[in-house]
Each structure stands twice: as structure tokens, then as C-alpha cells.
């Protein structure tokens, strides 16, 4: 029986036909292609790259970017629902799509030249080319303004030096969107550069030993005086604001994606509560378990309404970054709690890979920290409320 989704408040009725169809097509894809392979891929610590061309054919990458660049041109609610369904499969898969679409295709679309857009966007949309986003550095995570990576003018172009860390897709990327300070300037000098695989001085290696996002590649990027041609800069990028605009796009998708992980955990716990018999009755007949289930459903439903209204604001062009912060912060924290509660409801079985909660729970710990930690988003909200920075 196909997955019907958690929809206690009939949000489905508020969706357009295209939004429902987009969700349903990705939902079916996740059921058919992702769920059968993800458990093994996660245990093996392997990104299921065989899914990338199929996701490209579906049109998942950059689905909310315009058709003229080979994208689907969907609205942002549909895009969010796509992220939700991908993360119902695994946060690693959604992370891949977020990076490809929101952190690579979006900056090329928003800050790139027409030539850069035409060269990269259709190939990235199809999954023929893979991208990564290099902002975070070993010593500069929450404080990207302090970055050490430099692009110094060199002839017509630049010489790039520095390193980046915690870069999803880094080792398999054909193109890296790398953020660097120009000529030792301050944060206002930060610009984005398209750095291609194989350019002398550019290397990437995977970070191993992860207990989280195991079905995703996380890499270090190193730049040792990489000669960048003049046309490698994203001409409309300028200042820290540019990469932060990309992060707003990605965080928007995460706010939706976390709901998918929570739904997967909740539904498995619900099903388990109806079939697992203890003290002669299903554990779902016990008040304490019912309270857990009611709590999970309540929090998922609230998160869904939050994400939906955020999507409407984004489609109306009035969404503010602080609103994205609130949704990312709330929904990822919610998903962490739901995954943990579901894991516990499954008892000892909950630690096994054949059940989803512990995988999601472990993944979500990364999601809690990346793209603005839970605490950093509290500071963004605090600043929006008081006008005073507490960073």
C-alpha cells in the first residue's frame, strides 16, 4: 500500500494539484527506489549515487528555478514538499538535493553570468554534473565572516588559497562554489567562485568516521594557489550577504525536510505500537505510549503548518530570513525529538538498522548543527526581535 503521509489537519486540501502531484511523484520514487537501498547504504557509509541520474530525470534538482535553464519552475511549497519526501527517505539524500539546488544552482542563477547559467544549470538539473558549496572552514563555522580562504588578484584572474570543511558532495563534485575574501579584504570583499574539479592545486578528500549522515559524502576541500580564470567569479556576488542568501534557500528546504524524517519515525512508531504486544495488549493500548504518539503528532502537525505558511510567504516574495530561522530551528529540533521518542517506543528493536528512527535520529544531529546551528538561529531571532546582535 502506498505511503499516505501524516496529515492530521488535511493540509492536502490546501495544496494545488501541481503541489500534490510533485509530492506524490517524489513520494513514489522514495518508496520504490530509496527505501529499499538506504539502510544498507547508510550502514556501508556509502552515498547511493546510482539515484542521482534518476533524481535528475524526475527534475528534483533546482525544481524551483526557471524552466529556461532546464528546471521545473515549480513554486516553493511544491519544492518544500519535495524536500520533505526526500528526507523521509534519508537526510543524506535531501542534503545532496539541497546542496545541488539551493547552494550550487541557486547562486549560479542569482549571482552568475548568463554564460555561467547556461553552461551549468541544465547539466546540474539533470544530475549530469554535481556541485558542492564551500563556505565553512575548520575554524570558521558559525562565524563565516572570519574565513581565511583568499582570492588574490593574479593577472586577469585570481589565485585561490585556503581550505573548506564539512562540504557535502565535496569529493564527487564537478564544480565547487567557493567563497573567499578578495585581496585580504574584510567580509564585504567576499565573493563566490566556480572552481572545477581537476584544476591544479584543488583537492578534496572525504571525512571518515561519521556517526551521522552516513549515506552522504562529507569532504574537506584544499586550495593551494589554484589559478582561477577571470570568468570563474560569480559576477553579481558581493559580501557575506551572498552566501547567506544561499543558506536561506537551503534552510528553507531543511525546514520542510525535517518534517519528512519525523513523519517516517512517527509512522513506524505508530505501526509498532499497534502490533507489539506487552503485558498481553499492544503497547499502543497503554496511556503512556498514547501520550508519546499524541505529542509526536502534535509537533509534526505544527511544523507542517509552519512550513506551509513559510512557503506561501516565499512564493509571495515576502519571506524574511528570520522567519526561515524560526522554521529551521523549530522543525529540526522537533524532528530530533520525534526520532528519539520513536526510537524509544520501539524498545530494543529501535536500535536496529531495519527500523528507521535511529538512522534518522543520528542524521538529524547533523541537521541540527549545519546550516546555522540551533543556537545560532536563536541569535538570529533575538537580533530580529531586539535589534541587538548577540553573536
Amino acid at each position: 500500500m502506498p505511503y499516505a503521509g501524516t496529515d492530521f489537519y488535511n493540509l492536502d486540501a490546501a495544496l494545488s494539484a501541481e503541489q500534490r502531484q510533485a509530492r506524490d511523484t517524489v513520494r513514489a520514487f522514495v518508496d520504490d527506489r530509496v527505501l529499499p537501498v538506504i539502510e544498507d547504504a547508510w550502514l556501508e557509509g556509502r552515498f547511493p549515487s546510482e539515484l542521482v541520474p534518476l533524481l535528475g530525470t524526475l527534475g528534483v534538482f533546482g525544481a524551483n528555478l526557471p524552466e529556461e535553464y532546464g528546471c521545473a519552475g515549480m513554486d516553493n511549497v511544491a519544492y518544500g514538499l519535495i524536500m520533505q519526501e526526500l528526507e523521509r527517505g534519508d537526510s543524506g539524500l535531501r542534503s545532496f538535493a539541497s546542496v545541488q539546488g539551493a547552494l550550487v544552482m541557486y547562486p549560479i542563477f542569482a549571482f552568475g553570468s548568463e554564460e555561467q547559467r547556461k553552461r551549468w544549470l541544465p547539466a546540474l538539473a539533470k544530475g549530469e554534473k554535481i556541485g558542492c558549496f564551500g563556505l565553512t572552514e575548520p575554524d570558521f563555522g558559525s562565524n563565516p565572516a572570519g574565513m581565511l580562504t583568499r582570492a588574490r588578484r593574479h593577472g586577469d584572474g585570481w589565485l585561490l588559497s585556503g581550505s573548506k570543511m564539512w562540504i557535502t558532495n565535496g569529493s564527487r563534485a564537478d564544480v565547487a562554489v567557493v567563497w573567499a575574501k578578495v585581496d585580504d579584504g574584510d567580509a564585504d570583499s567576499i565573493r563566490g567562485f566556480l572552481v572545477e574539479r581537476g584544476w591544479p592545486g584543488f583537492s578534496a578528500r572525504d571525512q571518515k568516521g561519521k556517526h551521522s549522515l552516513r549515506a552522504s559524502d562529507t569532504s574537506e576541500l584544499a586550495f593551494s594557489d589554484v589559478e582561477l580564470p577571470a570568468q570563474s567569479v560569480l559576477p553579481k556576488s558581493g559580501g557575506l550577504k551572498s552566501p547567506l542568501m544561499c543558506l536561506t534557500q537551503a534552510r528553507y528546504g531543511i525546514a520542510w525536510g525535517a518534517i519528512g524524517a519525523a513523519m517516517a519515525c512517527f509512522e513506524q512508531a505508530l505501526e509498532y505500537s499497534k502490533t507489539r504486544v506487552m503485558f498481553d495488549v499492544p503497547i499502543g493500548a497503554k496511556q503512556i505510549q498514547q501520550e508519546h504518539l499524541a505529542e509526536m503528532l502534535t509537533e509534526i502537525t505544527k511544523a507542517q503548518l509552519l512550513a506551509y505558511q513559510l512557503g506561501r510567504l516565499k512564493d509571495a516574495g515576502t519571506m524574511k530570513p528570520a522567519q526561515v530561522s524560526l522554521a529551521k530551528r523549530n522543525n529540526v529540533d522537533m524532528a530530533c525529538n520525534v526520532a528519539r521518542a520513536a526510537r524509544r517506543m520501539l524498545g530494543a528493536n529501535g536500535i536496529l538498522a531495519e527500523y528507521v528512527p535511529m538512522r534518522h535520529m543520528a542524521n538529524l544531529e547533523s541537521v541540527y548543527t549545519y546550516e546555522g546551528t540551533h543556537d545560532v538561529h536563536a541569535l538570529i531571532l533575538g537580533q530580529a526581535l531586539t535589534g541587538m546582535s548577540a553573536f
Binding site: 501541481e18 510533485a22 511523484t25 513514489a28 524526475l58 527534475g59 528546471c71 515549480m74
Partner: protein, 262 residues
């Protein structure tokens, strides 16, 4: 070449269903309407032929359904069909297999076709009778239960599934085929396809536009549902004990053979 795929809109196969005791018809209230899953295989078969022939081959979706069904037809368009025709008229309500096939034949003749592709049966009524009757009313050869369909040089070549294997059958166009699930898994509607479907045409046809000289709808039905009953309760499972694996395999084989499943 013009391929017409017939699709039926059925209540969600996964929904719990009830039969209204008075009308002896399915209660559709509160149940989502979806594309008949078997018809998705027909669409897949048509799209494969279109891809193999290229050129100006088109795939038209044809459905006889209430006027409010356009949204469901968009899914067929999102899979890659070119356009759709919706035959809709209150007078068609209650049509039986014959009336349905007759009315659809008139609509499909007006739409024009070289090849009509149908799903094997509908998930709701499950008669499997429409494709054969439709071929008859269209006056073209009908090839049922096809697992493979090829068109080359204006000739149709199909593999028909039988109880013991398959037959290879050829025939001229125009023609009608019904397909089985072996034709290939229906493709996902791509996100671009979903957006593109909004711009594709869904023409509507009413009975007045067709030359219908036979009675259709409930009044014209030649069949009547006399009674509706739940299927008999399944017998208790039979447990066959075998001394070893080989004997167990033999027992399973004999049982399957007895049931004519192998």
C-alpha cells in the same frame, strides 16, 4: 501516427470501499479519484511506442468521466501524453460495459486514431470487457492481454499473454490493444512534466457532438446488477508436511499445477 490511450478514473484502490445497498453501486463520496492503475501501464506502452517511432507520433488520452475529472487526467499528461479528450455527459452515467464501449467508440472515431491502447481492466468494476467491445464498435482488430507491442511499417506486432506462455500476433492498423502489467512499469511523472501538463489541452466532448444512435447511460444498459455479496470467507490454509526440501518443492509444484498456476 496517432495513439489514443483510454483511461478510467477510479476510486483510490487503497481506500476502504462500501457498496450502497439501494443502488448496488460503489459509494464514491469521500474517496479520492485516481487514474486506474492498469491504465498507467497503457500510457507507458503508448509512450514507449512514441519514443521508438519518434517523428510526429502523438499520444492522446481519452476518458469518459464526469466533468470534474480534468485534474486527474493531468497526471496522464504529466507522464508525457500530448493531449487529452474528456467525453462527459450526464446522460452517460450508469452506462454498462456495452454502453461505455459504444459511447467511447463514437468519441474515439471523432478524435481519430491509428492505434488504441487500453489497460487490461479497471480497478473498480474489474470486468475487463471494455477493450474487446470497444474494438468491435470501432470496427478494428482487437489484441488483448499484450505484454509487448511494436509498430513497424504500418503493421502491429504484439505478444499476447496466455496461460502457458505468449503468442506472437501481427495485424494491420488501425487496431486496438489491451496491455498487461508486463508492458513495463509506468514512468514517474517528472516535475517538468507536471508543470508542462498545465499547458496541454484537455478537450471536452458531449454526446450531442457525436453520432450516438444507441441508448447509453443507465436506461440503455443491457445488464443489471441483481445482487451484491461479499466474497466467501477464505478457507483455512492447508499445511502440507514434507520429509525434505525436495519433497516440499514437489508438493508446492503439484499444488501450483493443480491450480493451473504453472
Amino acid at each position: 501516427m496517432k495513439i489514443v490511450v483510454t483511461v478510467k478514473l477510479v476510486p483510490d484502490p487503497n481506500a476502504e470501499k462500501k457498496i450502497d445497498a439501494g443502488s448496488k453501486r460503489l459509494v464514491r463520496t469521500g474517496i479520492e479519484t485516481v487514474l486506474n492503475p492498469y491504465d498507467e501501464y497503457a500510457i507507458e506502452g503508448a509512450l514507449k511506442i512514441k519514443e521508438s517511432l519518434g517523428g510526429d507520433t502523438t499520444v492522446t488520452i481519452f476518458s469518459m468521466a464526469p466533468a470534474a475529472s480534468k485534474e486527474v487526467l493531468r497526471k496522464a499528461l504529466a507522464m508525457g501524453a500530448d493531449d487529452a479528450v474528456l467525453l462527459t455527459d450526464p446522460a452517460l452515467e450508469g452506462s454498462d460495459v456495452r454502453g461505455t464501449a459504444y459511447a467511447m467508440a463514437q468519441g474515439i472515431k471523432q478524435t481519430g486514431f491509428d492505434l488504441v491502447i487500453c489497460g487490461g481492466l479497471a480497478d473498480d468494476g474489474s470486468t475487463g470487457g471494455v477493450p474487446g467491445a470497444l474494438a468491435e464498435y470501432l470496427g478494428v482488430p482487437g489484441f488483448t492481454n499484450c505484454r509487448q507491442v511494436e509498430v513497424a511499417g504500418g503493421t502491429l506486432k504484439v505478444q499476447r499473454e496466455t496461460d502457458s506462455g505468449y503468442q506472437v500476433v501481427s495485424g494491420p492498423l488501425p487496431a486496438l490493444v489491451s496491455v498487461t502489467m508486463a508492458i513495463g512499469e509506468p514512468r514517474y511523472a517528472s516535475l517538468k512534466g507536471i508543470m508542462g501538463a498545465k499547458k496541454k489541452s484537455i478537450a471536452t466532448l458531449a454526446l450531442a457532438a457525436l453520432s450516438v444512435d444507441g441508448a447509453v447511460g443507465g436506461d440503455g444498459a443491457k445488464t443489471e446488477v441483481r445482487a451484491v455479496a461479499a466474497p466467501p470467507v477464505r478457507e483455512k490454509a492447508r499445511v502440507v508436511e514434507a520429509p525434505d526440501g525436495a519433497a516440499g518443492a514437489r508438493a508446492i509444484f503439484d499444488l501450483l499445477k493443480e491450480k493451473k498456476l504453472v
